[in-house]
Amino acid sequence: MVGVAEPTVTSLGAGWYLVDDGERRWRVAVAGEGDMQWVFLEGQVATLETPRPGRRRAQSTEAGVMSPMPATVVAIHVAPGQSIAEGETLVVLEAMKMELPIRAPRAGVVKTVACAKGDLVQPGVNLVEFE
């Protein structure tokens, strides 16, 4: 920000800030404590995170697939030992009246199916693992 004055920030309370860059003023909302903040400005939203070593992300990896959110298993399309193609639907979840197909991130062979139809599954736990 060479040549631009440091913006002044005034807390307005309840997560709102008035940012004045010396020319224009912006109303910004910030929420969240600890290592992740949400920020809002004129309809746009971002999250800002500080990575923590060893923190597990609730997403699928080379080793297996996870649910991105709490959901119910409504169908399982694969069995252990089965060969799968990249993009093939492995499991279908339902959350919030929507079906969520969980697809294979790569081609491979199913090692284990760690869920059953009707299970309420949580994010961060493998549903299907690959060999």
Partner: protein
């Protein structure tokens, strides 16, 4: 408005529609009873009501979908009427019937009307008999090439051949001229047999790039049926509506009038009562546009505020009056459209990740305000969006004198609509409302499925310095007031950027 016998109303729903109905009741001096599941004990609709009855566990089948529990709650709380809202039990004929049996006024159509419209095949037959246009289609008993080709000729070109047992697009073939029929039939038959073990084919007119246009109707128990003009709902993703508006820019006065009359005929054909909506596919635009009945929604629609703004009526007030036996508070001649309304449905979903629904706590929530802006919502700061229900948080409805003024007002309002803690489609909506096709009012029902990913990608923007400055101040204030929570922060708090996006 006469709401006669209704003194205490149980609202068999949750979220924004429950809050909206409670507000209407306050104006009519009707007491309100909310119902709630374990997940909703602190929800706005429960706090807003005069009384509240706990139904059961969070899953809807153990609470909001449990007709017996809802009726028991109504009787226990001394309610004399039940408003089902939309979704949940609203179109279940057995629930309407159970209300009737329990001596409760059901704010909706009689169970018999619900039954007649509940069967898609039966409803289609009734509509044909009533002279309401439907998409031409048939599954001839004689499945020979000659018989099917003749059927194709009858339904008209372009035609679509599809397996009677099918779904998901498998085995569907488009036939644009009579000459293409024989090859297409053979291919469709092979694929149908291979995929479904049944080669029976159904042929229908293919409506290309249709619009979804629906007509609001209203009937009372005194024989009056009126329509309240149209809503244009083509901006939908996988049949989930995202933006609705009225008037529909593609309708000529003649076609609008014809659709209104068709909707009235549809309502009369099932002896309808109270508020309902006839959904149509619209093919083409202007004077040459053709419309085809899809189905009738036998309840208040999510998008009813669009009609309220443009026609100048309160549909919930009217529902309560008509349910209490009063005549309609308006006549067809008294109704007209004025200006333009747009509704934006605010969903907890992440358009950048295939619109996956989002659940979790809302850390900060602020609605836009101002002339011509209406927000119907069921959440607030601190609400927890549950995985058990629909991800719609709120509806932003704007009205202005013209479509372009309404579009600008909606954009300004969306830019003031702050939801933090869960992703929403607000940034996506801001892009969508600026898309050239939306500006030109040239949206068909396939538009969002085709263009959604590109719009989501376009809504990723660079993070402005003002936002970073505010986050830094927020962290500094948090560090001074609650130092313990910042122990995990590294020296550079902006190492990982979640993205400025929709």
């Amino acid at each position: 408005m006469a709401t006669g016998g209704i003194r205490r109303l149980l609202i068999a729903n949750r979220g924004e529609i429950a809050v909206r109905i409670i507000r209407a009741c306050r104006e009519l001096a009707i007491e309100t009873v909310a119902v709630y599941s374990d997940a909703d004990a602190e929800a706005p609709h429960v706090r807003a009501a005069d009384r509240a009855v706990h139904l059961g566990a969070a899953p809807a089948r153990e609470s909001y979908l449990d007709a017996a529990k809802v009726i028991a709650a109504a009787l226990a709380s001394g309610a004399d009427a039940v408003h089902p809202g939309y979704g949940f039990l609203s179109e279940r004929a057995h629930f309407a019937g159970a209300c009737e049996d329990a001596g409760l006024v059901f704010v909706g159509p009689p169970s018999a009307s619900l039954e007649r419209m509940g069967s898609k095949i039966g409803a289609r037959r009734l509509m044909v008999e009533a002279g309401v246009p439907v998409v031409p289609g048939e599954a001839p008993a004689d499945q020979s090439d000659a018989s099917l080709a003749a059927a194709i000729g009858r339904v008209g070109f372009p035609a679509l051949i599809k397996p009677s047992a099918g779904g998901g697009g498998i085995g569907m073939k488009i036939v644009r001229t009579a000459g293409e029929a024989v090859d297409a039939l053979a291919a469709a038959r092979r694929e149908a047999k291979a995929s479904f073990g049944d080669s029976t084919l159904y042929v229908e007119r293919l409506i290309e790039r249709p619009r979804h246009v629906e007509i609001q109707v209203f009937a009372d128990s005194h024989g009056n049926v009126v329509h309240l003009f149209e809503r244009e709902c083509s901006a939908q993703r996988r049949h989930q509506k995202m933006v609705e508006e009225s008037p529909c820019p593609a309708l000529s006065a003649t076609v609008r009038q014809a659709m209104g009359q068709a909707a009235i005929a549809a309502a009369r054909a099932v002896d309808y009562r109270n508020a309902g909506t006839c959904e149509f596919l619209l093919e083409g635009e202007g004077e040459s546009a053709k419309f085809y009945f899809l189905e009738m929604n036998t309840r208040l629609q999510v998008e009813h505020p669009v009609t309220e703004c443009v026609v100048g009526v309160d549909l919930v007030h009217a529902q309560l009056a008509v349910a209490a036996g009063a005549p309609l508070p308006f006549t067809q001649e008294s109704l007209s459209q004025r200006g333009h309304a747009i509704e934006c449905r605010i969903y907890a979903e992440d358009p950048a990740q295939g619109f996956i629904p989002q659940a979790g706590p809302i850390l900060l929530y602020r609605e836009p305000q101002g002339p011509g802006i209406r927000v119907d919502s069921g959440v607030t700061t601190g609400s927890v969006v549950s995985v058990h229900y629909d991800p719609m948080l709120a509806k932003l409805i704007v009205w202005a004198a013209s479509r372009e003024a309404a579009r600008q007002k909606a954009l300004a309002a969306l830019r003031e609509f702050a939801v933090l803690g869960i992703r929403t489609n607000i940034p996506f909506m801001i892009q969508l409302l600026q898309h050239q096709q939306f500006v030109a009012a040239r949206i068909d029902t396939g538009f969002l499925d085709r263009e959604g990913p590109a719009i989501a990608a376009a809504s990723v923007q660079e993070l402005p310095a003002a936002a970073l400055a505010a986050v830094a101040e927020h962290r500094r204030l948090g560090a001074s007031s609650t130092p313990g929570t910042l122990g995990a922060l590294g020296p550079d708090p902006f190492v990982s950027l979640g993205g400025w996006r929709g």
